[in-house]
């Protein structure tokens, strides 16, 4: 048996408050395609980033060719023969295909760029990929699939022996996927070690030789061969865990419908969507990244414009042209991208809280004493840990920033809260506090729409769960009937869905 080309040996990585990886070990031999599967947050990206030299492991090591390696930078990793094909491609759109392929290693003659050699080498690589791409055309003009080929071409030019693919087919059409799989098989035939991260089971079954499943940053199951692995076992391996007590679900009576969407369609949604939520309800939204949950929230909130459908608020039709109108009607959004869309990092915690209510009441002059009082009350109520109310919010931990964002909407007395991944990047202690606040809000008659890609969380907190897949609702599951298997089955794109799918 060949010796492993790439091994992870007891790799661990901790971020403040989060154990991203704990003692993960597995190997990939030359000429092997190993699948790496797991839910969002299972640690796949962290593993790849360690391989890419973006993170350093806290414990354990990456072993390449029998030698333990610690990469100080992506450049180190590349020099060791590693290439990562990312979901987001790293190409320069306005440079030509040939220039992108050889960027950083342009052939030179007498100090000047050697155009002839540049073109010749690009043509050679494109031929190896079997791709009909004009080396002179700008990358901007290519489809996503072709751009991915350019990335693979770059890996070939560097003669990378270890190539990791991170969800490579997430934006490819069926035909492009076939081409990609052919090329990956060719790479295997050349004796390279391939690591293939994907959610799509049928691809994994069709392509991969072996499989590693991660869960909660731990190495869960290792299948040295694909025989005997079936979808059901795989789903259980990925999802099978008990729901911890941190959720501490509290039932409560529900009122009448407060908000409903009918035939709603807009950016990020692929099919018209109907959904309705009742007063006091916690409605979960589960789905993989890119399933359309955030996009749906932005549509409900008036932050993007719908192309079809309408909204009903407390029984009457309503249109929100701007978030400002939605807020005046009682809606609130805690955005997924807290840093980019939620907080004002340089401003005081207090300012971050009062920004919403002060825009509601219509008085041009501030009542600074009242604002300070209200903010201080909410800081205490939400247990935001901050040195003072005047501290810049950017200096606080993620959990405390999130609590301040929720406090903002309590200050505005909003009664329909759209919370998009409110616990992302937040440690367990702060998370259970946030769940507690969510129950209290619901008990007080507020309505919570709660998007999460963390399955145990959404199962633990929500009364009902809307499962989204590829921009549409795949199913709505009540709390009593929900199982991890059911949620994953609805959320994962399967073969039948793919054939009928939008691309």
């Amino acid at each position: 048996m060949d010796q492993a080309l790439l091994s992870y040996a007891g790799v661990g990585k901790t971020f403040p408050g989060v154990i991203a990886l704990a003692d993960v070990s597995f190997s990939v031999r030359p000429g092997e395609i190993r699948a790496l599967m797991g839910e969002n947050g299972a640690g796949k990206s962290t593993l790849l980033k360690i391989l890419a030299g973006e993170y350093r492991p806290d414990s354990g090591a990456v072993i390449i060719d029998g030698q333990a390696r610690t990469f100080a930078s992506p450049r180190d990793s590349a020099a060791a023969g590693v290439a990562i094909i990312h979901q987001e491609l790293h190409l320069v759109p306005d440079l030509s295909v040939a220039e992108n392929l050889l960027l950083g290693d342009f052939p030179r003659r007498g100090g000047f760029l050697d155009h002839k050699a540049l073109r010749a080498r690009a043509v050679e690589i494109l031929a190896r990929l079997g791709e009909d791409i004009d080396p002179n055309s700008p990358v901007r003009a290519l489809s996503i699939g072709k751009r991915q080929m350019i990335e693979i071409g770059k890996a070939l030019l560097r003669d990378a022996r270890i190539i990791a693919f991170d969800e490579p087919t997430s934006s490819l059409s069926a035909r492009e996927t076939q081409t990609l799989m052919r090329i990956i098989r060719d790479l295997r035939a050349e004796g390279r070690a391939i690591l293939y991260v994907s959610h799509r089971m049928e691809e994994v079954f069709a392509l991969c030789d072996s499989l590693t499943v991660l869960r909660d940053g731990r190495h869960v199951v290792d299948y040295p061969a694909m025989d005997g692995v079936d979808q059901a076992r795989l789903i259980t391996a990925m999802a099978g865990r008990t729901i911890a007590d941190i959720y501490d679900y509290r039932a409560r009576p529900l009122g009448d419908e407060v908000l409903a969407a009918e035939g709603l369609l807009g950016p990020g949604l692929s099919r018209p969507l109907d959904v309705s939520v009742r007063r006091g309800e916690i409605l979960g939204f589960f789905g993989l990244i890119g399933a359309g949950r955030s996009e749906l929230f932005k549509l409900l909130y008036g932050a993007t414009a719908p192309t079809a459908g309408h909204l009903r608020l407390r029984g009457g039709p309503v249109v929100f042209d701007t978030p400002r109108q939605a807020i005046a009607a009682g809606l609130a959004l805690c955005p997924e991208d807290r840093k980019g869309e939620g907080i004002f990092p340089l401003a005081a915690v207090r300012e971050n809280i009062v920004v919403a209510p002060r825009n509601l009441d219509g008085h041009p002059f501030l009542d600074m004493a009242a604002e300070a009082r209200r903010a201080d009350e909410l800081i205490a109520l939400m247990r935001v840990k901050t040195p003072t109310a005047a501290t810049a919010i950017g200096t606080l931990s993620g959990g405390n920033q999130q609590k301040a964002v929720i406090a903002r909407w309590l200050a505005a007395d909003s009664d329909i809260l759209l919370m998009d991944e409110p616990t992302r990047g937040i440690d367990v202690g702060a998370r259970s506090e946030i769940y507690d606040h969510i129950y209290r809000l619901a008990e007080a008659g507020k309505t919570i729409l709660f998007a999460s890609s963390d399955m145990p969380e959404v199962m633990g907190v929500a009364d009902r769960i809307v499962v989204m897949r590829e921009g549409a609702i795949a199913g709505i599951v009540g709390r009593d009937e929900v199982t991890p298997d059911l949620l994953l089955r609805l959320a994962l794109p399967d073969a039948a869905q793919d054939a009928a799918g939008a691309d």
Binding site: I327, A328, N359, P364, L366
Partner: protein
Amino acid sequence: MSQPRPSILSRFSAAGPLAMLAVLFGLLSIFVPDFLGVRNMRGLILSVTLVATIAPTMMLVLALREVDLSVGSTTALAGVLCAVVMSSTGSVAAGVLAGLAAGAVVGLVNGFVVSRFQVNSLIVTLATMEIVRGLAFLASGGEAVSIPVERFYALGSGSFLGVNYPIWVAIIGFVVFAVVLNRTVFGRNVLAIGGNAEAARLAGVPVNRIRIAVFVLQGLAAGLAGIVLAARITSGQPNTSQGLELAVISACVLGGVSLSGGVATVTGVVVGVLIMGAAQNALNLLDVPTFYQFVVRGGILLAAVLFDRLRQSPGFLRRRAPMSVTGAKA
């Protein structure tokens, strides 16, 4: 602050603009004869009124994370229109209104294009700077337009409580905009938009309306400055105030207004204006030829931008937000 090895420069900057002003005044009073005299101080302050009249609104523009290069041209256009209208109607009110209206229209165009079409304000106002300068020359026929209404001159040369009217205009501007910035929802919204425009929009701040309003205020201030200037020089000059925009921006940045938006104080801007004025004044007292003054003005702007950069360097915030936590999931 908590930087491992604070350089002299960063210590200087952290001590704040007020310290810089104190050091500068101290040095100048030692090395420049007559600098601290009452007459010279009055002259110094009078010389910065043009910059000072426009600086508070420029502060709002920069706090929004925008910039306005058209203020110098707007000042000239407002002065010219004021002179043209006043000389043809004989009415002071009509002339003043014409000047203010010109400023408001330029600001409205700037604000509308920047917010409606999401174009970089640097480019938009660079274009309007040229256009408006051209309009000033067209309206005046390329020459100074003299103002025949003598009672209008009082706005430039008269005084109240021993303080010249142009200085009053600047003082009132600072007071008004200190209130606007610190005591109104509008002012706090300006800082919120500059701090994070998307977060502001999602928190219910009417982002576009505020952007347009701030540019209109900026245009009005430039128009007012142009009118006062016309009263001082008793004519409308199409070629006046070239480079004024840079002096105003330098003063704001020296005063601690962040070019990346979201951070501004009126006291800082007052100090920034005085630093600019003191430097200019000292050069005059020392009989430094005008050509050198360009070099010094540019040097001051460069220094201001460097200070701004220093303030933003990592370590200025005591602790960086734990960004990598989000990377753990995904």
